[in-house]
């Protein structure tokens, strides 16, 4: 009894400490964004925004081209994630389900593609996009982000596809379903957690991408949120309230999406995992 009490205490205490450590920066960002400037520049930190204000958010909203940055980021991210899921789903079926010549080689291609240091190839990307007369456009961004997240999406999805028993599909077809119906009604729901997990990776990669858009799109009309935030910070750097409000606005959608999807993904995997 004593032993088990002891055994519960330390893990829980450690978990509480870790909870505070991991949450604090996120909390501090939101808390600062709501504090009046006087509370932000005070000798002793004000731990909780007792006197909340939305003035910093107004500063962020009023920044030039605010909605444009949003629209661009959302468009590029959603399209890139959608394309890569679609393309990766086809590819992962081939890799997971079929034997064919050159399979190992292809897997290696995607392994290496995963290592591509896009950050250091911006010069050549810039020249190619310039020669195609596509600077300051969302099209090349979308395409490059698709390819950026594609390798990890394929390599992860193939594991999920491989785990769906092939007999299920066949059973459905014996029962009179067509191949497409069998896929839609039987296989697809089983793949849902996998698709969610991989779309999370894709989403955060595309939402975050910084160096490429920095080099390709010099005009504000075609820029995305990471650039908006970095420029905002250059301009309002000393105004921590406004900067934190801008950072919160940038982070919020992805934080919510993660919380929402992660619950489903973890719920799915733990429910299935308990029984071996």
């Amino acid at each position: 009894m004593r032993r088990s009490l002891f055994g519960r205490f330390w893990p829980n205490a450690t978990a509480v400490v870790l909870f505070v450590i991991f949450l604090f920066p996120v909390y501090w960002m939101f808390a600062t964004s709501l504090k009046p400037t006087g509370d932000i520049i005070s000798e002793d930190p004000v731990w909780f925004p007792l006197d909340p204000t939305f003035e910093h958010y107004r500063t962020a909203f009023d920044a030039d081209n605010f909605w444009n940055f949003w629209k661009n980021s959302l468009t590029v991210t959603l399209l890139a994630v959608g394309f890569s899921l679609l393309v990766a789903l086809l590819a992962s079926f081939a890799i997971a389900r079929m034997r064919f010549r050159g399979r190992t080689g292809l897997i290696l291609v995607f392994m290496f593609a995963q290592m591509a240091p896009w950050e250091v190839m911006v010069i050549s990307v810039y020249m190619l996009v310039r020669d195609a007369d596509m600077l300051n456009s969302l099209v090349p961004l979308t395409l490059f982000y698709t390819v950026m997240v594609l390798p990890l999406t394929i390599l992860t999805l193939r594991n999920f596809v491989a785990a769906v028993p092939k007999d299920l599909e066949e059973a459905a077809m014996v029962d009179g379903a067509t191949r497409v119906q069998a896929f839609r009604k039987v296989i697809f729901p089983l793949l849902a957690p996998g698709l969610m997990a991989t779309s999370l990776f894709g989403f955060i990669t595309a939402w975050n991408e910084f160096p490429m858009v920095l080099v390709l799109n010099k005009e504000a009309e075609a820029q995305t949120l990471p650039l908006w935030l970095s420029q905002f910070q250059t301009q309002f750097g000393d105004d921590w309230g406004a900067t934190m409000a801008a950072a919160s606005l940038f982070a919020l959608p992805i934080l919510l999406l993660f919380l929402y999807l992660q619950r489903k993904v973890t719920a799915g995997l733990t429910a299935g995992a308990v029984k071996g």
Binding site: M98, I107, M121, I123, S124, A163, P193, G194, L259
Partner: protein
């Protein structure tokens, strides 16, 4: 990557009770002659990768043999200068110093991330349901924080004046830290970058590892208990062999991600002070784009790719062997 294998496998088994547990999916032999179908399915992925990744890679290689500055770029001039860029990069001290720094930086960060991530993952497995969900929430939020937002927040946490870190250090008795400028020295700048990278990276490792441990059959632990194995023995002979592939795969991914970490390093202090915190990707960017030595930047990026391939060659070899055995 192999990171997620057990999740869906177990899930699928859980749902499809009628079928006996299938052997690991990719070992099944049923599909002998698939004909052209697999190639068709792979076509879009291959075309996209070949065009949008292959082409810039080749272009990058070509550029690395050119003298390419602002003038050449604007006037569309092609001036070949042979291996001059490589000779300059490899002949100078800077490149080697930055390479060594990048390797140490990657090693320290990956070691910290893997160690802490594994410990947190194992802790998650030991917690009760409520506590686990609570901690998971904080981990997921840290993980999802966009990089540029994270660097902004860390600049605020470590701000010279009114930064909460300096305030805490002052209260703890380090009064000299009250107005400390964290970006004024190489070591302290790297310290901030490391704290931030560890903070954003540990959740991925921890959550993946936790997911891996949930698929270990209870019976194995019961058997170990019956055999009188202690906590450590149970870990080394039940848990560890099971999570080994996950650790390998995650380490590989983390090496790539940390090595390539660009915005984290660049946005904190632009590689400063005095270019002392430039890692290879930042060095390539600052030399190439910032200082407009585009040809030189291309050469450095080719070298960067080679260094990264060297660092990951062990794992790639391992995977190649595994894939061959599987097929």
């Amino acid at each position: 990557m192999t990171v997620q294998i057990p999740r869906p496998a177990e899930k699928a088994k859980g749902r499809a009770r009628t079928t006996p547990p299938p052997p690991p999916g990719r070992n099944r032999k049923a599909q002998g002659s698939a004909g052209a179908l697999p190639y068709l399915l792979l076509l879009p992925a291959l075309v996209l990768t070949a065009v949008l990744l292959g082409w810039p890679l080749i272009k990058n290689g070509v550029l690395s043999f050119q003298q390419l500055g602002m003038k050449e770029l604007i006037q569309h001039l092609t001036v070949w200068n042979g291996v001059d860029n490589y000779a300059d990069a490899l002949g100078g001290e800077d490149f080697w110093r930055v390479t060594l720094r990048t390797i140490v930086f990657t090693a320290v960060n990956v070691a910290l991330i893997m160690l802490l991530g594994t410990l947190v993952g194992l802790l998650l497995a030991r917690l009760g349901r409520k506590m686990r969900l609570t901690l998971l929430m904080a981990l997921v939020l840290a993980w999802a924080m966009p990089i540029i937002a994270a660097t902004t927040v860390y600049q605020w946490l470590f701000a010279e004046r009114y930064g909460v870190v300096n305030w805490i250090l002052d209260k703890l008795g380090w009064h000299s830290m009250a107005d400390y400028s964290w970006t004024s020295s190489q070591f302290s700048t790297f310290f901030v970058i490391t704290v931030m990278l560890v903070w954003t990276s540990v959740p991925f490792v921890a959550i993946n590892l936790y997911a891996a441990t949930t698929t270990i059959a209870r019976e194995l632990y019961e058997a170990a208990g019956l055999d009188g194995a202690g906590a450590w023995r149970t870990f080394t002979s039940v848990t560890f062999p099971f999570i080994r592939p996950f650790l390998l795969a995650t380490t590989f991914l983390e090496i790539i991600w940390i090595f390539k970490a660009f915005p984290h390093v660049y946005a904190i202090n632009g590689g400063g002070p005095d270019r002392l915190t430039e890692t290879l990707p930042v060095y390539a960017f600052v030399e190439g784009v910032g200082n407009q030595h585009y040809g030189m930047g291309a050469a450095i990026s080719v070298l960067t790719i080679l260094v990264l391939m060297g660092l990951t060659s062990y794992y790639i070899r391992l995977l190649m062997k595994q894939e061959r055995e599987d097929s």
